[in-house]
C-alpha cells in the first residue's frame, strides 16, 4: 500500500487551500497529519479518497491514479472514518458496521458479512455493544464503531479525521493505540488527522506537518516536533522534553504568566454541601433559602 501525491493543488472557488503538495507514504504504519485549523488537513484527506477532486496534480494509490478508480473499487482500497457523525436515524451497531461491507457485496451471503463484522467488533473490544443502538453510545464508543465500519471495508489505506477529538484521555490513548497496533497486525497504512500533538507523538510512526496549505515538515515525531517547527507553524512557544523515547511538548504562554497572583476573597469554589458550609459560617437556614430563591 503506497500513496503518492504529486503537485497537488486544491482551491474552493478563488482561494487555494492546498498548493504544491508532494508526499509519498509507503508500507503499514500510522501517520499523523498535524497543523493548525484551516490549514487543509481534511482537504488533503478528501483528495486522497476522491471525495474532492484536486484542481491540479495527481493522487496515486499503489501507482494507480485515483481518477481512474471507480467509487466502489475505491471503497475496497481506502476506508474513511469521519469527524463526528450524527445519523438522523440511528441503526444498531451491527447494522451500522455492516454498511462497511457494501463495497464487497455482490450477492454474497449476509452470514459471511456478519462473521467479518463480529470478528472486527471483537478485535477492538466492542462485541458487547453489537445489538445496542448507535445513538445510545458514548463518544468513545461511537468512534470505535466508526473505526470498525472502516475496518470491515478491508481497506489497504485507512483515513481518519480527528478520531480522538471528543474523547477523554483514556479513550484518546486507547483509540490511538488500537490504530497503531492495527497498522502492524493488519498491514494497513493508517493516516489520521490529529490536534493533540502529544498523543500523536506518542503513537505515530511518522508525521506530516502542514502549514498554509503546503507540507512544512515530514518525518518521525522527533524530527517533526521541534521547538522551531511548532513556533513557525502554530506560532506557539514550547519546550520539548523526551518521554519514553518520544517527544513531549510543553506549551509556553508568554502572555499569561501571572498565575501566582491570588484571587479576590469572594471568588472561591467548594465541593461541600451548601448547608454545612453556611452553618459553619453562622448563617441561619432561612437566610440560605432566601438567598437561593
Amino acid at each position: 500500500m503506497k500513496v503518492t501525491i504529486s503537485g497537488l493543488e486544491f482551491g474552493y472557488s478563488s482561494s487555494p487551500v492546498l498548493k504544491d503538495v508532494n508526499l509519498e507514504v509507503n508500507g503499514p504504519q500510522l501517520i499523523s497529519i498535524i497543523g493548525p485549523n484551516g490549514v487543509g488537513k481534511s482537504t488533503l484527506i478528501h483528495c486522497i479518497n476522491k471525495i474532492l477532486s484536486p484542481t491540479k496534480g495527481v493522487v496515486m494509490i499503489n501507482g494507480e491514479d485515483v481518477n481512474g478508480i471507480s467509487i466502489k473499487e475505491m471503497a475496497k482500497k481506502v476506508g474513511y472514518v469521519p469527524y463526528a457523525t450524527s445519523d438522523a436515524f440511528p441503526l444498531s451497531v451491527v447494522d451500522t458496521v455492516l454498511m462497511g461491507r457494501h463495497p464487497h457485496s455482490g450477492w454474497k451471503s449476509l452470514d459471511h458479512d456478519l462473521d467479518v463484522v463480529y470478528s472486527t467488533l471483537k478485535l477492538i473490544n466492542i462485541e458487547h455493544l453489537a445489538m445496542r443502538s448507535f445513538d445510545e453510545l458514548s463518544a468513545g464508543q461511537h468512534q470505535k464503531v466508526m473505526l470498525a465500519r472502516g475496518l470491515v471495508q478491508e481497506p489497504e489505506v485507512l483515513l481518519l479525521d480527528e478520531p480522538t477529538s471528543n474523547l477523554d484521555i483514556k479513550h484518546q490513548m486507547e483509540v490511538t493505540r488500537i490504530l497503531r497496533n492495527l497498522s502492524q497486525e493488519k498491514g494497513i497504512l493508517i493516516i489520521m488527522i490529529s490536534h493533540d500533538l502529544n498523543i500523536a507523538a506518542k503513537y505515530s510512526d511518522n508525521m506530516v506537518m502542514l502549514s498554509n496549505g503546503s507540507i512544512y515538515a515530514v518525518g518521525t515525531p522527533k524530527e517533526v516536533l521541534t521547538k522551531e517547527n511548532i513556533k513557525a507553524v502554530y506560532g506557539v512557544d514550547s519546550e520539548i522534553i523526551e518521554s519514553h523515547g518520544r517527544p513531549h511538548i510543553i506549551m509556553l504562554d508568554s502572555e499569561f504568566d501571572d498565575v501566582s497572583e491570588p484571587l479576590p476573597p469572594e471568588s472561591f469554589v467548594s465541593g461541600r454541601k451548601v448547608v454545612e458550609e453556611h452553618m459553619e459560617r453562622g448563617t441561619r437556614v432561612r437566610d440560605i433559602i432566601e438567598e437561593q430563591s
Binding site: 479518497n49 471503497a75 440511528p90 444498531s92 454498511m99 465500519r149
Partner: protein, 353 residues
C-alpha cells in the same frame, strides 16, 4: 467462524422479530380487506360479500344491485387502498432515509402540488385536448405529467451543482408553494361545480375508484417497490451522509436521484388516480420505524404493510362517516394524527434523533 454463531443467532432472532411486524400488518390487511367489503350503506356480512364476488366470477349474478356495489365499487376501492397505502408509506420511508430527514415524505419534492396543478388545469378545461381521452382519463394524465415536473427541476438543477438533501427539500417546498399559488389563482376563476371537484381532488378520495384504475397503480407500485428493495443496502449507506456514502462505495448524488425518481413515479401513479392523500407517507414510516428500526430491508416492507392496513381502515371509516361518506384524506389525518402523537409520547426509545 463458528465462534460467532451465538452472536449471529441473536442478530437473526431480532431480524425475525422485526419481520413479524410486517407479517402481522399483512394479516391485518387481509382482515381489513374483507371487513371493508361489508361496511357502507348497503350492509352485508363477510360471507355474503365473498358469495357475491364468487357469483360474479362464476357468472351467476343473482342480485345486480349488490353485485354492482360489492364487486364494482367496494372491491376495486379496497384493492386500490392496499396499493396506495403501500406506495405512499414505503415511498415516505425511503424518502426520509435518503434525505436523512424525518420530515420528508413522498410529497416533499412537490409531487402532490404538481399533481394538483395538473388535475386542476384538466378539471377547468373540462374537455380533453387530445382525442381519445375521457374527462377522467385526462385528469389522470395531466396529474401524472405535472407531478413529475418538480423531480425534473431537481434533476436539472443537480446536473451542474452539488445537491445536498436540505437543498432538495427546499427546492421541493419552493415548487410546492408556487404550484399551490397557481392552483389558487385558477380556482378564483373557476365555476362553483368545478371548484368542488378541484377541492375533492385535493383532499384525496378513493370513492370514485373503479376497476379501470387498478392496473397502472398496481404495476407501477409493485415495480417501484421491487426496485427500492433491490437497492436496500445502498439506501442504508446513504444514511451515513454524502461523504461517508462515497467512501463506502456508493455514489451519493446518482443514487439519491435514482431513488427519488423511483419514488416520484410510484407516488405519481397512485396520486394521479386518487388525489393527494396526506399524512400516511409521513407517519406510516415513523410507526414502522418504532417497531422495526431504520434498516431499509426491514423498514420498506414494514412501512408498506402498515400503510396498506392503515389506509384500508381509514377508508372504511371514511365511507360510513356523514351522510355521503368523507374523503379518506380527511379521516386518515383526523384519526391518525392523535394516534401518532399518542405513540410518540408513550414511546420509550427514540427511533430517530
Amino acid at each position: 467462524m463458528a465462534e460467532y454463531s451465538n452472536s449471529k443467532e441473536e442478530y437473526y432472532r431480532l431480524a425475525r422479530r422485526k419481520r413479524m411486524f410486517a407479517v402481522v400488518c399483512m394479516v391485518l390487511t387481509v382482515v381489513a380487506f374483507f371487513a371493508s367489503l361489508t361496511v357502507g350503506f348497503y350492509k352485508v356480512s363477510i360471507g355474503e360479500a365473498i358469495g357475491i364476488i364468487s357469483d360474479h366470477l362464476h357468472g351467476t349474478i343473482s342480485d345486480i344491485q349488490a353485485d354492482s356495489i360489492i364487486f364494482n365499487s367496494r372491491l376495486p376501492i379496497a384493492i386500490f387502498a392496499i396499493i396506495a397505502g403501500a406506495a405512499l408509506s414505503a415511498g415516505g420511508a425511503v424518502m426520509q432515509t435518503i434525505l436523512r430527514n424525518p420530515l420528508a415524505d413522498p410529497y416533499t419534492m412537490g409531487i402532490s402540488s404538481g399533481a394538483s396543478l395538473g388535475a386542476t388545469i384538466a378539471i377547468i378545461m373540462g374537455t380533453s385536448l387530445w382525442a381519445g381521452f375521457s374527462n377522467s382519463e385526462f385528469i389522470v394524465v395531466m396529474a401524472f405529467l405535472f407531478s413529475l415536473i418538480p423531480v425534473g427541476v431537481i434533476l436539472l438543477f443537480s446536473i451542474k451543482r452539488k445537491t445536498t438533501s436540505t437543498k432538495i427539500i427546499l427546492i421541493g417546498i419552493a415548487v410546492m408553494y408556487m404550484f399551490s399559488a397557481i392552483v389558487s389563482l385558477l380556482m378564483v376563476t373557476a365555476s362553483e361545480d368545478t371548484l368542488s371537484e378541484i377541492y375533492a381532488w385535493r383532499v384525496g378520495t378513493l370513492a370514485l375508484v373503479s376497476w379501470g384504475d387498478i392496473l397502472i397503480p398496481l404495476v407501477g407500485t409493485v415495480g417501484c417497490l421491487t426496485l427500492l428493495m433491490v437497492s436496500n443496502r445502498r439506501i442504508n449507506v446513504l444514511m451515513s451522509g454524502a461523504n461517508c456514502a462515497q467512501s463506502l462505495g456508493v455514489d451519493p448524488k446518482r443514487t439519491t436521484l435514482i431513488q427519488m425518481v423511483i419514488i416520484s413515479v410510484m407516488t405519481a401513479v397512485v396520486v394521479s388516480f386518487c388525489g393527494t392523500i396526506g399524512f400516511i407517507g409521513l407517519v406510516g414510516p415513523h410507526v414502522a420505524r418504532i417497531f422495526v428500526g431504520s434498516e431499509s430491508k426491514m423498514l420498506i416492507p414494514a412501512s408498506a404493510a402498515f400503510g396498506s392496513v392503515f389506509l384500508l381502515v381509514a377508508n372504511s371509516i371514511a365511507s360510513v362517516s356523514g351522510p355521503y361518506g368523507l374523503p379518506v384524506g380527511v379521516v386518515s389525518a383526523i384519526i391518525g394524527c392523535p394516534l401518532f402523537i399518542f405513540i410518540l409520547i408513550k414511546m420509550r426509545r427514540n427511533a430517530w434523533k
